[in-house]
Amino acid sequence: MMSALASNWTWSALAMLVVILFLVGALPVYTVRLLVKFYPPDDPRRAELVAEMHQAIAYRDRWLWLFETAAVASIEGVAARVNARRFRVHRTTRTLRLLGEYLGLLEDSGLDGARELAYETPNVGLDIIFLSSEEHRRQAQDEWLAWVASELRSWTQACSDCGEAPFPLPDGLQERWRAQDGSR
């Protein structure tokens, strides 16, 4: 009977140990990975919080830290999602305007001037400007200008909410488009 009791105790203790290890070890990591879903996918806070949990937080502090992080993630994360949505709209408009400036600079001062604009405007529009620079390596100057102009035009048309172009287009560009339409 004593041996049966000891055996029961052993199994109970073992089960308890597993539960404790799960509660302080694995479960907080799962929980933080779920919590960071509040943030937009490209938000660096996602990776930051997961890394903090893996490397920095002491086992005894994990749940307290998680509760605090849950509060901030639900507020900050949702706000970041709303801002990201707003920024996307803003970014589209700004990118179009930049491309318009870029085209104007290309006609006035060539590729060097346009690159100056690229270096002066970090983040927004750079991807498109560099994309068009890449395209320039493969195409002759005239073809490339036509390519950028057609891209700009299609983006302007895609911006259906904006009505008119949301930026001053380079001189002569709209006339050129009209002429192209007339010749078709």
């Binding site: 660096p44 990776a47 890394a51 903090e52 893996h54 490397q55 830290w65 605090e68 901030v72």
Partner: protein, 110 residues
């Protein structure tokens, strides 16, 4: 685009003091939270605001430098941040030295 720091709280000043203790070193969110006593729920938004204001810049550990664990994000004060925080803390210390009790910082008020 940088956003000016709109609200200066006691927690922000605590974090600023901890950052200025070693202004050119890298700092980690959790370590800052431990050393200042500012809870995680307050710490991360403060770090975000400081980043937005250009007072801090951030970076990531080299991947794989921690035995396959995810790389951590670190923060380092910029020159702007050092200057702003120094003046902020100096402004904060003046009323105290005059014996004026102030629960909240007076920065930005008329």
């Amino acid at each position: 685009m940088l956003r000016p720091m709109e609200r200066v709280s006691t927690s922000l000043l605590k974090v600023g003091t901890a950052l200025l203790a070693s202004p050119h070193s890298v700092h980690w969110g959790y370590e800052l939270s431990r050393s200042t006593g500012v809870r995680a729920g307050t710490m991360y938004p403060i770090l975000g605001r400081m980043l937005d204001s250009g007072w801090l810049h951030d970076g990531w550990e080299e991947p794989g430098s921690n035995g396959g664990r995810p790389p951590r994000r670190y923060y380092r004060l910029t020159e702007v941040g050092i200057a702003e925080l120094t003046s902020l803390l100096a402004a904060r210390s003046v009323p105290r030295s005059n014996g004026v009790k102030s629960a909240r910082p007076q920065v930005g008020r008329a």
